[in-house]
Symmetry: C2
Subunit: 231 residues, 2 copies
Amino acid sequence: MESIDKIHGTFEKRIAETKANVPTAVIKRLPRYHRYLGELIREGRMRISSAELSELLGVTASQIRQDLNCFGGFGQQGYGYNVKYLHGKIGELLGVTEGFRTVIVGAGNLGRALAATHMFERRGVERLALFDVNPDIIGTKIYGIPVYSTDELGEFCRRERVDIGVLTVPKEAAFSVADVMARAGVRGIWNFANMELSLPYPEVEVENIHLGDSLMTLCYRLKSAGGAEED
Amino acid sequence: MESIDKIHGTFEKRIAETKANVPTAVIKRLPRYHRYLGELIREGRMRISSAELSELLGVTASQIRQDLNCFGGFGQQGYGYNVKYLHGKIGELLGVTEGFRTVIVGAGNLGRALAATHMFERRGVERLALFDVNPDIIGTKIYGIPVYSTDELGEFCRRERVDIGVLTVPKEAAFSVADVMARAGVRGIWNFANMELSLPYPEVEVENIHLGDSLMTLCYRLKSAGGAEED
DNA sequence: TAGATTGTTAATCGATTAACAATC
DNA sequence: TAGATTGTTAATCGATTAACAATC
């Protein structure tokens, strides 16, 4: 079995630039690849072929190779892909090594649920604070995360160079809170309010979560039973 | 302005059957149409053209007409669409009139957050119970919803003819809990565990929510700033 | 009737799959 | 070297957009 370092050396010289326009369909699949590769690492797998990975994920091997090649050659002909290396590279693409900093605005049930998970840190995203309007909880900590007044949101984001704002406030407040953050240099909004948030700042990326829409999609499939599977 | 009843009469005779294979892309857009039409109703709008709706949603008018025509003619040439009527029809397609019954399994932070929302009832889905393994909360109510022991899950689902199971248990428990529900006649699983749940029962529909994947997608876009907008 | 706007067909675009030459 | 498997091009499939005839 060849030395991994040797293989990496070979890899490095072949890695091309990311293609100009990576299809959004590809980007949406990257986190899934990353998750499965993480599991393979835990299982102690060293290498994997696109064929084997395709069986695991239930997609075609062709698609996997095509997808990965949007970012340059991560594999090696005749060998396949080095699991750890590929996991690391996809992680880099997804920004886990960027040290993104985030705050959660809205310490209601959903905000608390997000404060309780390890979802952020597991992906290299640091949670700095919660913000809320309820004076009873301002100044306390929730799952170790300090809670501040929403009045301080803008100043905090600017001072702490917050990258991402998580929005779990009521729909009515979503826009104004997002606006405050955008003006304070926040570059990404993860929006759980049940609406499409659109901001007048094209440089700010918005990712909308629509749990209700997902529930309805499931209901549709239940109604027309025998329909299509999976998400 | 014509009587709405007259228009409905005209509509009814033209409504065709749902086309054999509705593209999943179309199904995913239906909840969004439904939401915006609900807002238009609240604003008192009676009718709308595909052109106007397209501007509101930021999609092409062509797509809206094409999408709606998968389910038959909901509009009227020269007039447009009757807002209330279209909202109702899409709601029917999405099962809001079916009276689906659901239970939430896992009364952790996310389970509680789901217990607190009005998301379900607003979409015609009834929440019957929470299930958990923690003896401290079994027998109590959370936001008015009774909490039972997970031991009783199967019997409860069978007896109460539960349609949908919401899974907010740890990843490790997800499969076995889903299996119990599927055997007890549950036809849909809304899965929040961070994994693709695949069950050996093809008749059971599974909708996976991957919050972590969504966060990573946002991080990707932040990294390659100037990239694609929206979800 | 004339004007408006749908429903629907045809054209375009993008994404997935298949095939195979390059190469480790 | 021979075998395996990638990277990549070409073919297929599906989804979106454009155009327009049907019709209210």
